[in-house]
Symmetry: C2
Subunit: 224 residues, 2 copies
DNA sequence: GATATTTATAAGGTTTGCCTTATAATACCT
DNA sequence: AGGTATTATAAGGCAAACCTTATAAATATC
């Protein structure tokens, strides 16, 4: 049943699942970009994954996980987010750094270890960055949220989650108090796709449009 | 400073250190045997390690860790044994299984993680199998013990440590109550390198000569 | 000292996962 | 429908770790 795949394979599966928000087809180019490999390499790898029945590839359309592929991806993400909780809550490793550490540990973790960790942690539901932890069966419950870049000035929001995560992004966000649970007020949006001026806990910050697409919030109030 | 090496490199370093009890030269054949690779592969790898100044190889004599190599090996062993403690004490993973799980985690662990884990665990000194945990600086304190195969009938001992560890060995020992802390009485030794008949907690067990070389004990009494 | 064993090296091969450059096929857009 | 952009594939290469088979060199043993 639970065959273990190598790190590379697992990163592809995980990334495909993280990119497929609405179960749609993922362009190999998008995959290559996120994994920082050439499109040719990504194509080769997708073919290999296809042979192992982990993905389905429709040429010129994109890649999609199969049932097994999706299940395995969920297990890796589950293990990743549980490790993040452990690292942050019990080992006091900085919020911005747990992601990259967990990204290594996840590949050294089998199902038994994941479940033992889950029990130890008391079955948490979200990672330190607000993202939901898939259940043992692979089910993932994502809260209804909006990305910061779609909102208008005058709104007050609660930061819910950061997605997708990356070391540099989290480092930057940490230094600007952008963390789940914090309240954020949109003061102003500069023209020409300019920065979003916000206030988080009395302090003003300027956030770029691109970064704003990674910040998922819920609106909790308006100035008017 | 703390460059990270790949899993293969780390396993070679770790194995060399574990085999060098008295700082002597390790035969490449011994290394190959324990790592379950051909001697040719081990030789190639030793050459690569030599280029990286991690080992010194004296042809027809053996391999030895350099200062850096030895330090890095200690870090891996430290991380391994700390993980074992965590897995056994906090996640309730069976005594015989923590070794193989830790052998994967150790390669996904950097110094910061190791030290955070050490602090979380309260700076333990031994792994669940009784082996000493190297200190952060690499210093390793090994208790004075004897291997079971060198002792005579009539003696009562305390089991101190199992070394070196392997999944199959630990599985076998667990099923025979051979664990650190348990008392063992040597009832009889069969001739022609036959099994050692022992009693552990009222129950009799027969242990082979080869297995006995992995069981380190201290004598605590004699029948006479 | 001759022989057997151990150890080292040489030669050729495989797999995985990456790379670049170039070309072909398809999709998208006006 | 035509042109541009995207996507796929072909071709050739590289490095790390493995493998086997064969030979050479050193060491150990009688
Ligand atoms: Mn990862
Ligand atoms: Mn996270
Ligand atoms: Mn290992
Ligand atoms: Mn151990």
């Amino acid at each position: 049943m639970h065959e273990s795949f190598n790190e590379s394979t697992e990163m592809y599966l995980k990334t495909i699942r993280e990119l497929s928000i609405d179960n749609d087809l993922i362009a190999i180019s998008a995959l290559a970009r996120r994994l920082e490999v050439s499109t040719v390499s990504a194509t080769e790898m997708v073919h290999r994954l296809e042979e192992h029945k982990l993905v389905e590839h429709t040429p010129y359309k994109g890649v999609q996980l199969t049932g097994i592929g999706c299940q395995h991806a969920a297990e890796i993400i589950r293990s990743h987010r549980l490790w993040e909780r452990f690292l942050a809550d019990h080992l006091n490793i900085p919020w911005a750094r747990v992601h990259e550490v967990a990204c290594r540990l996840e590949h050294a973790t089998d199902t038994k270890l994941t479940e033992a960790l889950d029990a130890f942690l008391g079955h948490p539901t979200r990672c330190p960055h607000g993202n939901p932890i898939p259940q043992a069966g692979g089910v993932l419950k994502t809260a209804v949220t909006t990305t910061l870049n779609t909102l208008k000035p005058g709104l007050t929001c609660e930061i819910i989650r950061i997605h997708p995560e990356s070391a540099l992004l989290l480092e930057y966000l940490a230094s600007h108090d952008v963390k789940p649970g914090n309240q954020l007020h949109i003061d102003e949006i500069a023209p020409f796709n300019g920065p979003i001026m916000v206030t988080i806990g009395e302090k003003p910050h300027a956030l770029g449009q691109e970064i704003a697409t990674h910040i998922f919030v819920t609106v909790i109030g308006s100035d008017a």
